[in-house]
């Protein structure tokens, strides 16, 4: 196999982040210090080398960028200040854009006009929809389900769910083709897809690889701050997503519940977790006080800001409803949806959110490939013995 160099690639990658890999002289300190890289997946050095030479196919079939959680140890250790951790981040954005067959992800990552334009377009779409099609406005008491009938909103939810799932799953399928099917010589028994499926759920729920990243040996859960914080964000996000998509009829209600009612405290927990997560990201990026937040791509701001605004308008909405202020409730509701919708549409299949899916799938694909390789090798050895006999 001969690989052809492509000197234009580094410049392309530069659009996806603060890339400084020209300075890298391939010493491998980054890989040596990385708590997650292995001899089979020697990142970030391998990915950086692929990027330096512009070996696009190699990079496309690599799961390694998804196995990195950006602890920043490599960047701190790099003798040439080549910023390996940020290079891996840029490669994740680049890969997200490559997996996406619509080309929108690439547009959103490489053009602020496209990204901000899309947010405003979707927000305007929601506002206009409500202006044109809202239900009767009851002003003597708060009647949100009259203003925005929950079954209709739910219908919109499902439409969006199906649409976003379609895009996201088709992107994941492309990711599968790049990563798993690129190696034509590798025969993968179908059974492996089933037996390794637990990886998906297990890693999504536990984020366990994050625990190995950056932390010292023997720390408790509460001391592993980055894993802990990330887990809180994921749980908050997951919970809120479930509430507004699956249980909307129960969640969006005109009833007033006591404080211990799950409809309230589940919502509060999710809101606090989202505020915490988005706030942590934004404050970190402003202060640039850790490696992960040192460099901010425009897309890095968009997601937490939209999230923060979503949470903030959600709180307002809730407050106005409990204070019995009908009009502020309705207006806030529209604004809330006008922020929430672009956040989901943009980020889930085309942006930052997608890593929520890509990371577990990367681990899943990697596990399948590894197992298949072991099987194939033992089969080859067995065949060789059989032939010898």
């Amino acid at each position: 196999m001969t690989y052809r160099v492509d000197p234009t690639f580094v410049d392309e990658l530069k659009k996806y982040g603060h890339v400084n890999i020209e300075d890298c002289f391939n010493c491998g300190n980054c890989t040596a210090i990385c708590p997650l890289s292995t001899s089979e997946t020697p990142f970030p050095r391998k990915n950086i080398r692929q990027a330096q030479l512009g070996l696009r196919e190699n990079l496309l079939e690599s799961v390694d960028p998804w196995l990195c959680y950006y602890c920043g140890e490599c960047t701190l250790t790099c003798p040439r200040q080549a910023e390996p951790a940020e290079a891996q981040m840029a490669m994740r954005r680049w890969l997200t854009a490559q997996y996406d067959w619509t080309g929108l992800a690439r547009k959103f990552y490489t053009s602020k006009v496209w990204e901000i334009g899309a947010v405003f377009f979707l927000a305007a779409f929601i506002v206009v929809t409500f202006v044109l099609f809202h239900g009767p406005i009851v002003t003597d008491h708060v009647a949100l389900n009259t203003f925005a009938p929950v079954h209709l909103v739910e219908l919109g939810d499902y439409v969006m769910l199906v649409g976003l799932s379609f895009f996201l799953l088709s992107n994941i399928f492309r990711m599968y083709l790049f990563i798993v099917r690129s190696d034509k010589s590798l025969k993968i028994p179908f059974k492996l897809y089933i037996t390794e499926a637990w990886q998906l759920l297990y890693n999504t729920v536990t984020q366990i690889r994050y625990a190995k990243c950056d932390e010292e040996e023997g720390q408790s859960f509460w001391e592993k701050t980055r894993w802990r914080n990330h887990l809180i964000i994921v749980s908050g996000y997951g919970l809120m997503f479930t509430l507004v998509v699956v249980f909307l009829r129960w969640f969006q209600t005109d009833n007033y519940y006591p404080i211990w009612h799950p409809q309230r405290w589940l919502g509060y927990y999710a809101t606090i977790a989202l505020l915490f997560g988005a706030g942590d990201a934004i404050i970190g990026r402003i202060k640039k006080d850790n490696e992960m937040h040192k460099y901010s791509h425009p897309s890095d701001w968009m997601f937490p800001i939209l999230l923060l605004l979503t949470a903030f308008t959600g709180i307002l909405l809730h407050t106005f409803r409990y204070l019995g202020l009908p009009l502020p409730t309705y207006y806030t509701y529209v604004i809330h949806l006008a922020i929430l919708t672009p956040m989901l549409v943009l980020e889930v299949p085309f942006g930052k959110w997608a890593h929520l899916a890509y990371r577990p799938f990367a681990i899943y694909f990697e596990a399948i490939k590894e197992k298949a390789k072991v099987l194939q090798e033992s089969q080859t050895t067995a065949d060789a013995y059989a032939a010898a006999d």
Binding site: M1, T2, R4, E22, D23, R49, L55
Partner: protein, 713 residues
Amino acid sequence: MTEPNEENKEKDVKNNSEEPITVHVDELKDAVEKEIADAGGEDIKIGVYVCQCGGNISDVVRTDLVAKELEKFPNVVVSRDFIFMCSDSGQELIKKDIQEKGINRVVVGSCSPFLHETTFRKAVSSGGLNPYLYTHVGIREQDSWVHADHPKEATELAVHLMEAGVAKARLLEPLKPTEIKAKKHALVIGGGIAGLQAALSIAKADLKVTIVEKSHFLGGRVAQWDTVFPTDEDARAVLNRVIEEVLANPNITIHTGTELIAAKGYIGEFNIRLRQQPRGVSEDFDGLDEAIKVCPVEVPDEFNFGLSKRKAIYRPYDGCVPSGAVIDWEHCTKCGECLKVGKKGSINLDETPHEFDITVGAVVVATGFDPYEPFKGEFGYGEIPEVITLPQLERILSKDGPTKGKLEVNGHPVHNIAMIHCVGSRQKEGVHKPQPDGKVNDYCSRVCCTATLSAAKQIHEHFPDTNIFDLYQDIRTYGRGHEDYYINASKNGVTFLRYFAEEIPEVTKSPEGEKNPVMVKVKDHLTWGYEVEVPVDLVVLAVGMMPTPIQDLIGMLKVSQGNDRFLLEVHPKLRPVETAIAGIVLAGTAQGPMTIREASYAGQAAASKVIAMLITGQVELEPFVAKIDPERCEGSGECVKYCPQEEAIRLETFTEDGRTFQRAVVSPANCNGCGVCVSVCPNRAINIQGWTLDQFDAMVEALAMEVSVLEDA
């Protein structure tokens, strides 16, 4: 030292008898004999000193017992041991004993003679004795340090060695260093940066210097370079500053177009014959442009490394020194077309080479290097027009080069460049094609790594859209400021690919339909040994350095050559610019690959050696040379036959009482005291002064004597 073959030897002998060289042997002989006569008849009084070397010797050897034992020997007047003989008080001891006890031979047992023989000779001399009435005995390196486990035997050994020293001292005679009148004039062979620097430094010490340059202009290889690291200066600007100083110095004479054709002599007086090629064009000739136009002969221009053509009448480059044009005699057909142009000045196509002699006291060999010339087909060189060498790239980048500074090759612009390091350097036997002498260049040329990255920097500055791929084995940017070029290259996006010498990159013409004309394939060890292909518009081979072929000169000067064909110094650390031939020193890349900075160091170091040799107008040589006993010599000529040194010993015809006979005569300036003549003489007629056969006999006898030192104690 090159071994002259038998045939040459005979010729030399003949030459010698025809033209005897002028050393004042007789005067010298008389002086020494007089001194010996003065000393004659006196009692031999020997002072023996055993050094403790602060425990280095005395912790093992009982120096007190050794001194006591030596006291018993005949002629020994004083015998002492002392803590540090080399200290001022130790030396004072010797002086006092000479003056008060009248000792006239001194033996010191201490460290190796390499360390302190000279020290004690000086002490003896300042006590008023001839400094050669001294014997040094090594009882540290040869005894205490190596026999620490056997103190008793070590003490006995020390006594043996010291006895031998005393036995030799008894037979010592006063000697005089050979003094040679030295011409206060140095010859510098080579007008490149090293030679110019050497000449300038020597001239500044008010010695005369003659620069001999084979080509018709000064400056050598530096003149062909565009921008030089680590200062990014214009090479010509650096060079011109040196040349201007050289031209302005009245002590310097320059002969360009000149070569050595014969050399003989020794330090202080080398007789050199030179041959100067005529320029053929007078300096005030004003029709050069027209003459070039009408000249029908076209040959590759060596100044541009064959990238362009020049005529048989030419000037290497504008601003060269000397600035006049020259005729290329090898290619000129003497058609006479050029004679028809120009109003002022003239062209003379009938001029012939002119030979002349000079006599100099010392010679600086600064003959420089040639860039390695790749074989046809080596990395596609000579077959693919887009494959060039780094010196050729420098010409292309140069504003007065064949493309006037435009980055073009074969007529098309260049966007992707591959630079391949270690071409003609660090070669492996069995992998690389050897040179005609059967050897591959296994050495590192040192300069090319930084020079390549420096060129990459220039390209990036002037042509920022160019992509550069750097194929290296190891980056050796070793000098001050060099590493910056490596870091700079990375920052500018130079892509590095690493190959190993066993699997060198493959350069081929691109297949049809490719955008770039050349394809470079390399097994890249930074990418797990993947085979990587790099489509490029230009391949630059970072060729190494090879010494300018100077076999004739090496034969004439008898300087030694290393396995790598570069000239060899006596010792890489202790005598780094001197050759084994006294009076001949090395400067610059004739000795090995060097940067301009290093060549300048070398030139100035060579100059300081030359100045030290010649500044007094006199050269003193150690007297340890062969001496003939005319009574015993029968003129067999064996010594002359076997002497490895040219002109050191010869047969001369004498006539006495009507009888004609031949006797050997030594030329002390040329003799290096090796002793070969002593061993072949059938009549025991030759001795090396200071190490006579009688002295050796006495030493061996003394060593064989029984010693019973500890029983006495």
